[in-house]
Symmetry: C2
Subunit: 487 residues, 2 copies
Amino acid sequence: MVEDEKKKIVLDKSDFSTWYNDVVEVAGLSDKRYPVKGMNVWTPYGWKVMQAVDRILRREFDDTEHDEVQFPLLIPKTEFQKEADHIKGFDAEVYWVTHGGLNELDVPMLLRPTSETAMYPMFSLWIRSHNDLPLKTYQIVNTFRYETKMTRSFIRVREIHFFEAHTCHETFEDAEGQIREDCSIMDRLAKELCIPYLLVKRPDWDKFAGAVYTIGVDTIMPSKKTLQLGSIHQYRENFSRPYDITYEGADGEHHHVHQTTYGMSERLIGAIIGVHGDDKGIILPPKIAPIQFMIIPILAKGKVEMVTEAAKELEREIKEMGFRVKLDLRDVRPGSKHYDWEIKGVPIRVEIGPRDIENNTLVFKRRDLSTKAFIERKDLKEEAQKALDEVEKEMLSRVENIMEDGVKEVDSVYDGKDLLGTGWDGIIKTNWCGEMECAREMETQMDKTFLGYPLKDAVSGETEKKDGNCMNCGKPCDTVVMLSKSY
Amino acid sequence: MVEDEKKKIVLDKSDFSTWYNDVVEVAGLSDKRYPVKGMNVWTPYGWKVMQAVDRILRREFDDTEHDEVQFPLLIPKTEFQKEADHIKGFDAEVYWVTHGGLNELDVPMLLRPTSETAMYPMFSLWIRSHNDLPLKTYQIVNTFRYETKMTRSFIRVREIHFFEAHTCHETFEDAEGQIREDCSIMDRLAKELCIPYLLVKRPDWDKFAGAVYTIGVDTIMPSKKTLQLGSIHQYRENFSRPYDITYEGADGEHHHVHQTTYGMSERLIGAIIGVHGDDKGIILPPKIAPIQFMIIPILAKGKVEMVTEAAKELEREIKEMGFRVKLDLRDVRPGSKHYDWEIKGVPIRVEIGPRDIENNTLVFKRRDLSTKAFIERKDLKEEAQKALDEVEKEMLSRVENIMEDGVKEVDSVYDGKDLLGTGWDGIIKTNWCGEMECAREMETQMDKTFLGYPLKDAVSGETEKKDGNCMNCGKPCDTVVMLSKSY
């Protein structure tokens, strides 16, 4: 536990809920004092982290031939109502704009909770023939949900920083291919962000409003509760029929397109904070850290000018190497500087003092392991890259441990109870016969809910199968399911 | 005039209003068929152009020590009402959110038309001492105005892609320094975007709601009407008093901060389209063109494969040089390809055919002048850069002509009428004694309105002074003003 001197806040991750709120505040990621609950201010540091994540998303989706677009925020009620399940799913959750200036609007408009109903009337105009397909688009926008549950920065907010991809295809199989592409993008993204993730096909009763099926992307938080980071939906023709999105096929006939969507949000940041943070603050994955190297000069008496100059030169050098680097020249004692940048999760602290200058060395202090290493100045470039790679490797190995410890296979309710008796409270992987009665009993006995059917891997799109017996009734079956507590 | 074969639209800039709407559509910049008037869809090409502009803005404001932030969209009515002039200015122009889900909200919220009233309650929390100053922030967000006038893509819309910088300073003089910095940023931006611009201090009766004074950034459209692209405001303590934004000075006393703002919007794109477009389509400045080079292979019979391979290799090469390049391999005739990319304003078309491959040459066709040049393949890198530089130079020289022809000095109402009699209908620059009666008469006689006091240049922040006589009453005075028709 470390006490931040200025803010007098003790960070103690063993009380996760308090720790999370505190660390978001003292790391300067978000300010929740804005006068509307759940609508938070992105402060400069937090916004830089989000933009770094967005840059990865843009690269991934541009590289897979998606076009970035930007649709209007406001959706007329008349358009929103076209898909019946969809509106039922969102009825109680949307904000309504009813007045423009002093006039009541003829048709009320809602703030998009997601953009199906904004985009699809336009897709219907854009798509004419099979030559227009596939249509692959995405946008990064603000969306809104009237949350009634307790809000929490990045995890449950009312104005959401939202990524959404929407695609249209000729056939169901083409759309399935898109979903496989989406899963493999998630895999690459999770590696760069150093977060654990599961791809789990939701049970039918938990799919998205309007979807044929939903694949949830879930992370595992320190409590071993799951947090949904994103979701991938197969719509088949569920939206293209009411929104009349058709194409003329090579056969000269008109067909409805098959659609998919992929949604993600700022929860990605919530996951990074929750998974990697400690009592010293957050730890940022090197690929998205706004500052990868923070230089702290040791300004010994009589050597201030010399060290300052050397530190500035070092900053220039590291910057030229293509890394993100800053130099802390504030007039506060080094201890304060260490605390501040540890809280903000800067992967590598670089110390330079008179002796280092004399010996042509530097000190690298790693945020993740708190280890120090002496670096020969002449090896700076290789050592800098190596240091970032090692931090990433360590963070990924922690992710692996979380995955291993977070999910356990269980054969029966009896075994499950045994396991829970040890105090472990993670994700249970087991077999299920498909009977609702068994599902309910499994949920009750384990005090968890059905997360769904885990995918075999991130490329095949297939759910896991394994010969076994239903956890509850013992009937032989090969359907694998997961149960968890979730946020 | 060129007829786009697919859309059967004849572009004729002599009918500017129709031409503008058509060119926005056929160039694929924006789709205004979204079912809410004035809320348009950013299609992929238009959004790429906007993002290129945003990149320049981010670079300029990051380089001048501004921090990017992101504030909530919704502003509670109670916060909005704190500055009396401000709310009066916006009362009839904002959208109101009155319901969350099925519940009426206790306090209605409005969609930000601009973010003073969202940001300043937070600034009041963020600023404690003079060490926190200056506070320099900006954000790029969607803002909303309930426009009742006719809407037009990029020029008058209801959901606006908005840039806004907000700064706080210790003293009025510091804030004045910020405004000088803002003006010089505008100068650099206008050069990269190749747009004409004027910095004109607005008359008191035309300043922004809540401002002490406003500097308008105006462009000159082909009609010689002015279009406001942005505005820079000096607030002094007008907002810091009602929002209680104070700092403890070195003197131990609490003082209100002095504030400035700088707003710009997608009108920057409207200006580029309007100023440079022609009967073949738009022309994009090389610095923001999403595609700087479009390669069109000449696929002569029997040589298709060879030329395709060479064109692909050429694309790789140009890309590696750091330029934005695409290769058009569609199965349509070259003439169609030429039309399509001319409409979209790609600065340089690169033609490569069997003979070019044999001779190690290429053809560069410029969008601005329609001239062709043979390029030696070995000089590709230098020639590519030179070609872009030359397009930019030509565009800037056109801008210079527009500025020269757009503004004319006039000594008296008599001279003014003479000038208008020639059919010229641009911006009149003249002297004014300061009497409202003279202002009204000048406006009536010239059939134009006061644009305001032009700044001497983009660095001094001073308005132009020149000994002369009031245009209307002939009284000696040194105040220079401009009158124009404006959009």
